[in-house]
């Protein structure tokens, strides 16, 4: 017998229920069961994961999912979550798994930073009337630019390192085919191509169907090296070496064999039905020198035509590591904060490891500036960017662009129920079950993602206009336009921003 109290209550208003059984058909967890004999929809509360699919699909709004308020006696030290976790572990003897990002009540520094605006002495700009530049180039920038003039034509003499061009400083972060469905991958790819930005393959390789979006694809090379071959490297516009992930720094990945379908096995280039295990470290990278070898190898393989990204999780000594990564020859550093999502991670790691992206970003940017190597690399901030305001604050702190993934999933239907690891996602996102994957029509997914980024672009332009800036370049690393609110002196110092009023 299980002695765990259900987390959710599923209330059905009988006056409104028309017994259309949409809820029965839509819930992949089996919360609803229809008994023909009694014309009854029976509800099993204990199976509910709180994804709200039934609630949203019910044509008469007869369903309400509420948190079970009767859940144990109130206790500020032993929360209901803690008690249930202990009970689950006592029953199973296993680690508690979870999905998506850290949901604990740690401080969010985005909410403690305010943006500046122009008044009187420096006029704001109206983005609806004047051009506003969001175009961003990622890659190594030269120390100086030498121009040459021949017969009145001016050209660039300095040879530029490979760059990728983004029409907006927002990209879609790494989510592999395997962790998410092919329809979700296609939605991201097609939205990235419409928006003139990039999406990332995660380490799931590139499905044949998505090769046509190669110009907008960042191909990931992670510790499992799944799906990497010359065709993959040639097709992707940039290559990202993944060292770590914000949600689970120091932890590898594990796609269980039952999820490795024929198509996934072909894309990842592994036998179907076998576990796809990404080791915690790259077994050929135990030092910055080893990392340099892999960077050089990829550059050699791609004819020095593609920028190489290195992605690390934000951890305590990120700044020193970032400095090493620049010296190893990376063109772009991606920092993933502890709010970043995952398809599956031990809850204890997700909730207790890493550090906020705001701090990691500020210290890395500062360290690279202090060492006069900031121009040698672009910085991409990832992990918990929720809005255009977060993105703008990240860029003011020193990021060249941001990666979004949780926000992208939410746009496609995700409700952050955090059960990605079960592979039964009711929204057709983190699943490979053919009954469920068809719930995401890539045409709709792509439209929603395009709308999301388009609206963020408008908001970013509006924010820039209010600051009197007409190009995102002018805001990058401009911490003078940020002020802290409710920060301690030490926090302000680390973030490199003044407190409001200073």
């Amino acid at each position: 017998m299980s002695n765990i109290i259900p987390e959710f209550n599923v209330d059905k208003n009988e006056d409104r229920c028309i017994k259309c059984k949409v809820c029965v058909r839509q819930c992949s967890e089996g919360v609803f069961k229809y008994f023909d004999e009694f014309d009854l929809i029976r509800i099993y509360n204990d199976k509910c994961i709180g994804c709200h699919r039934c609630e949203m699909m019910c044509p008469t709004d007869a369903l309400t999912i509420t948190k079970n308020t009767a859940l144990y006696k109130e206790n500020s030290h032993w929360s209901s979550y803690t008690i249930n976790s202990i009970k689950k572990q006592a029953e199973t003897g296993g680690m508690i798994l979870t999905g998506s990002g850290n949901d604990k009540a740690y401080v969010s520094y985005w909410d403690k930073m305010l943006l500046d605006a122009s008044q009187v002495t420096n006029p704001p700009i109206d983005p609806l009337r004047e051009p506003m530049e969001l175009r961003t180039y990622l890659g190594k920038k030269p120390e100086k630019v030498i121009l040459k003039e021949e017969n009145g034509d001016i050209s660039l003499e300095t040879k530029l390192a490979p760059q990728i061009k983004l029409e907006t400083p927002i990209m879609f972060s790494a989510m592999s085919y395997g962790s998410i469905s092919l329809n979700a991958c296609e939605s991201l790819a097609s939205a990235a191509s419409k928006l003139g930005t990039f999406y990332n393959t995660g380490e799931g390789g590139l499905h044949k169907k998505l090769y046509k979006y190669g110009k907008n694809t960042i191909g990931q090379v992670a510790s499992g090296r799944f799906g990497v071959d010359t065709e993959y490297l040639d097709t992707c516009a940039a290559i990202e070496i993944k060292i770590g992930q914000g949600a689970k720094p120091g932890i590898g990945g594990h796609l269980p064999g039952e999820k490795v379908t024929v198509e996934i096995s072909e894309t990842r280039m592994i036998p179907s039905g076998t576990d796809a295990i990404s080791p915690a470290p790259h077994h050929d990278i135990y030092s910055i020198e080893d990392l340099k070898q892999l960077i050089c190898l990829i550059k050699e393989a791609t004819n020095y035509e593609k920028p190489v990204f290195v992605k690390i999780a934000a951890v305590h000594n990120s700044a020193a590591i970032a400095s090493g990564i620049v010296r190893a020859g990376a063109d772009v550093i991606v920092i993933d904060g502890f709010r970043g999502g995952t398809g599956a991670a031990p809850s204890v790691i997700r909730d207790n490891t890493g550090m906020p992206i705001e701090i990691a970003l500020a210290v890395i940017d500062q360290r690279l500036r202090d060492e006069s190597i900031r121009n040698e690399v672009s910085i991409v901030a990832a992990g918990g960017i929720r809005s255009s305001a977060d993105a703008v604050k990240a860029m003011a702190l020193g990021a060249d662009a941001v990666y979004i993934a949780t926000a992208a999933l939410i746009a496609m239907g995700c409700t952050l129920c955090q059960k990605c690891y079960k592979g039964k996602c009711n929204w057709g996102l983190t699943t490979q079950d053919p009954v469920l994957t068809r719930r995401l029509n890539p045409a709709i997914g792509s439209e929603k993602l395009t709308n999301l980024v388009t609206s963020w672009n408008l908001e970013i332009k509006e924010i820039l206009g209010s600051m009197g800036i007409n190009a995102i370049e002018a805001l990058r690393g401009n911490r003078l336009r940020l002020r802290g609110i409710g920060l301690t002196e030490l926090e302000s110092k680390i973030l490199g921003i003044e407190h409001a009023g200073m």
Binding site: D15, I18, C20, K21, M57, D433, R438, R439, L440, N441
Partner: protein, 142 residues
């Protein structure tokens, strides 16, 4: 002109909301709760839902170019009006010949009369297409 409602089986999620909205549209009150809970003479939906394993989809009248149902009807109850095959309820005597000849199984038997999809021909877009949550049902007019 020809109206056509068709289902993309790759994206039909089997919720059968098309049937619900079809029933409501053809009910007396036009209200979902009244139609289902109080109207006893409600007509069932005009959609035919089929499912095999994970593949599913709804089929309705395809508005054939040369409809067999028109030929089969001895009462002249079926006619083409504005590009839509329409079944006149008043004339139907319930001989079920149209039901038998329809190659799509799109004509259904009511209590004593046949009924079929009218493509919501007075509306711009049929309700089933309008309310399909995954845009699996598509509507074409050529």
């Amino acid at each position: 002109m020809k109206r056509r409602i068709f289902c993309d089986e790759d994206f039909c999620i089997g919720c059968r909301l098309c049937e619900v909205h079809c029933t409501v549209k053809h009910s007396k009150s036009g209200d979902i709760i009244l139609a289902y809970k109080f109207e006893n003479d409600k007509e069932p939906s005009r959609m035919t839902f089929e499912q095999k394993e994970y593949i599913c989809g709804s089929i309705v009248c395809m508005n054939c170019k040369d409809p067999l149902c028109i030929k089969a009807c001895s009462m002249g109850a079926i006619k083409i009006e504005d590009g839509t095959v329409i079944l006149d309820n008043e004339r139907c005597v319930g001989c079920w010949m149209c039901v038998m000849v329809c190659p799509f199984g799109a004509i259904k038997r009511g209590d004593n009369k046949a009924f079929k999809c009218d493509h919501c021909h007075t509306d711009e877009i049929p309700v089933c297409v309008l309310n399909c949550p995954n845009k699996a049902l598509k509507y074409e007019v050529d």
